[in-house]
């Protein structure tokens, strides 16, 4: 651990107390915690020392690194990740070759069991792991050593979490997730292609505040970020319920921002907090921009859910309003039928909710 706490660095960088507390509140909200924990978060960030972090890249595209780095202005969240003691990150570190390896080895040796390993990219197992080597070592050997000796490993992005792109059929290199490659490591998965940097920040803040990783689902994903279905928090959901669908790119419905389900949106099968925290500092997210969700945070999303533009079959609840409109055409019967249909909708909705 470093001598200086996080807040001493933030104040040096001109972050005011007020902005710092606003950030703590945002983190509490992202983590789904009550505002009463804000002082606890603030205290932890002020007093706790910075953890050592090493960031490993294996079969990756650096998309998750970009997700962290490519911010239009420096945010407090960026600074939080900036001021953790990031000892090793191939894409951004100054030393190369042996000196780079030394930075990594020093942390593993001197801070065994106390550092956090962040892993981006999958690990190839085929042919003895030759498809990804760094400094003459295979990714699998590196992962075993670095993740096996870490306090915890945060797998960022879908490749590190599930195998991702490299593991898409026919998985030419035998790519697997960090947890599959190093089963004895403590791993938390932050999938997404890329993962959302807000979720990484919140996970780190949770660890600093409570001394533990956040509660996870069976896929090893923190519930605060992956506990809710995209479809249920989608701003286009009312159009789904109303049977108002985009049928063709650029059609009238598309221009009006109707539901993208017919265009292959995988929101009904996807669990992630994109609709609420969005991307690029809360600017937008894919569905808001007019393209369906591709379920990038789901296991084996490139193969498991069919083609990106093929409609998911039988999502319960689609087209209620279409039926209601048809019935409603008869003027005299409209009111009575409307009530009946509404009642039917309510009952079938509660049934489908019961099934969950």
């Amino acid at each position: 651990m470093q001598d200086e706490s996080l807040f001493s660095d933030l104040s040096k960088r001109g972050i005011s107390r007020r902005n710092f507390l606003t950030f703590c509140s945002t983190m509490a909200a992202t983590l789904g915690l009550q505002s009463t924990v804000v002082p606890q978060i603030a205290e932890a960030l002020e007093k706790k020392q910075k953890p050592y972090v090493v960031w490993l890249e294996f079969q990756d595209c650096a998309g998750d690194s970009e997700s962290i780095l490519r911010s239009t202005k420096p945010t407090i969240a960026q600074l939080v990740l900036d001021v953790i003691s990031l000892e090793y990150h191939e894409t951004i570190m100054a030393p190369s070759g042996k000196n780079a390896e030394k930075s990594l080895n020093d942390v593993v040796k001197n801070h065994k069991g106390k550092y956090i390993a962040i892993v981006e990219g999958s690990i190839p197992m085929k042919d003895g792991g030759v498809y990804c080597c760094i400094g003459g070592k295979t990714a699998i050997d590196m992962a075993k050593e670095v993740c096996g000796n870490a306090l915890a490993t945060i797998a960022v992005g879908s490749c590190a979490s599930y195998g991702g792109v490299a593991a898409a059929a026919p998985n030419p290199t035998g790519a697997v997730s960090v947890k599959q490659a190093v089963p004895n490591a403590t791993v938390i998965n932050l999938p997404g292609c890329p993962m959302n940097s807000e979720n990484l920040t919140a996970t780190v803040v949770h660890y600093l505040t409570f001394g533990a990783l956040p509660q996870c689902d069976k896929e090893g994903r923190p519930l605060f970020a992956y506990g809710k279905r995209i479809h249920d928090n989608c701003e286009r959901r009312t159009h789904f319920d109303a049977g108002q669908f985009v049928r063709k790119w650029g059609d009238d419905g598309h221009r009006k921002g109707w539901c993208l389900y017919e265009m292959g949106c995988k929101g009904p099968q996807s669990y992630m907090n994109c609709p609420t925290i969005r991307w690029n500092e809360g600017t937008s997210w894919p569905v808001m921009a007019g393209h369906g969700c591709i379920a990038c945070g789901q296991p084996q999303s490139w193969d498991a859910l069919g083609s990106m533009y093929t409609r998911l079959p039988n999502v319960p609840g689609s087209g209620y309003q279409t039926t209601a409109d048809k019935i409603g055409l008869g003027v005299a019967a409209a009111a009575a039928a409307g009530v009946a249909v509404h009642a039917a909708i309510r009952s079938s909705k509660s049934k489908s909710e019961d099934k969950k």
Partner: protein, 59 residues
């Protein structure tokens, strides 16, 4: 005559190894190796062409 190897080469996207043969203080020969391969060329084979952009943009 000496041979040096720089691996990993940092501040680039991807994994790269550079080896250089040095004679009399000059580099006389050099080799670069991309030390990571995923086979995305094989992964996009037989896929719906409309989704290939999404895979290839993650290179």
């Amino acid at each position: 005559m000496a041979k040096i190897a720089i691996d990993p080469l940092t501040r680039i996207e991807g994994h790269l190894r550079i080896e250089a043969q040095i004679e009399g203080g000059k580099v006389v020969d050099a080799w670069s190796s991309s030390t990571m391969w995923r086979g995305i060329e094989l992964i996009v084979k037989n896929r719906d062409p409309r989704e290939v952009w999404a895979l290839l943009s993650r290179i």
